[in-house]
Amino acid sequence: MNKTLSYVLYVLLGIVTAALFVMTVLASAGVSGVWMGMPIVIVLMVFAITLLVSVIAFNPRKFWYSLGFYILHIGIVMFLAGTFIYTVSGTVTNAAPPSVSSITPAIEYRMKQMGITDGQIANLKGYYNQLSRTNEMGENEIIDLGFNFRVVDFKTEYYDKEQKNVKHYEATVGFLNSDGSEERVSLTVNHPIYRNGWKIYLMNVSVNEVYGHTEVQMMFKKDPTEVLSTAGILLTVLGTFVMCFIRPREAALTKEKGGKGKKKVKGGAAK
């Protein structure tokens, strides 16, 4: 890579860093929408172009160094491409189905007192196969999941008797099989489950303010680029380690000028 081009690319990297720094300060100061507008898109595009040009223009000399360079930079490009494609083609929506076990006879009675019919209660406790969400255009959209599910039970464990510090959340999700049987799967924080291309997360839990039953907040995500993004991340980390650990360290710490032996350091601990 010639010196002028590398100068331009390095300065661009500095500008991207400075821009992100300014935006970070603004966001930390409470300015809203910093990460949603065009500026961040421009910064990320400049970053991606800088990466691509450097990958194309780089002239490898030392094998391990160039290998690390390509793995690292291509890894970042893959990750950015994955997140960009996900932004365009991915789907995400939330739902808060009731935990069926929390709809006790007392709560059912309260519901009926407030005009809810038996059919509506049965629907509430039944299976869900569609979710609604507001899309990017602000329109309401119905999403067909391609499977039927319900939350059979939800448990919360606490560290203390006062029930202030939560130890564990666990939802039991029931999936309706085609033969009418139900497959029950445990869903916990940090351990999403996969179903029909959807990744299902346990996000939170709340109590319905009107009737008092438990509502389990779940997120449903369809990300066709998860493999690409994850591979990009792994390559980035691998490339960084290859570049930084196989690159020879500065010789001045271990050798005399042009000679052998360890360098003597004046004043203090060095022997």
Partner: protein
Amino acid sequence: MTGTLLRFVCLGAAILYYVAFATTYLNKKYQKLSLILWCIGIALNGAIVINNWIVNGYMPFVSMYQVLTFLGVTFAMVYVYIRYMHNGLFMKRYFMVSQGVIMTGVFFMAQAAEWHFPPALQSAFFIPHVFSYMISYCLVAVASILTVISFFLKKEQHALYEKGAYNLVLTGFPFMVLGMFLGSLWANECWGNYWQWDNKEVWSLVTVLALTVYLHFRRHARLKKFAPYFVVLAFVFEIITLFFVGMFGGDSMHAYN
């Protein structure tokens, strides 16, 4: 250990770190004493870590108190690697004083050894994510000290300190990248997205980018003179990420207190 005893042990470790640091400036015959004092300091620091570990039953990385006490020991572990892999003997005193500063901070904190482990942190990513950051933070902290000192040194010593800082950054940078991307993979499992643009995340990204700029600028003849400032900046960003985002970050998703 009770809170009072923990505070005394912490104070003892801090004092020993400072005395060991000061002793490195004495005659060569005192260097063994410095090493012994340092080892006792590390042992006291390690005793607090082990106490935190036993009391909670998990690796003590959750509260700031637990993280900082572990960070004190991490400096020692990192030094052993740097000492033997990169002949970093002359850096020893800067590791000592860094540990002293950290344990002084810990001394003034509430000695709350017991801390509940919230569900969001109960993940296989948790320990490698935090530990990678700890390693990188230690190395960048000492690298920035070396860089600042190098500004005031003459040619040969300046080169030694500047190159020492470079070697520390080369060792610490991959761990910072690892920590950030492990966090990203974890976020995808916990919150459903690799990146949330959360305050702590973006400050850690800016820290990584500052070090990236340093490593790139240092390779270029015309930009090399600006490079050292980015190590110091990275250290400032690191401090902001570690302490100030947690304190003033408002609704940060990384606040578990």
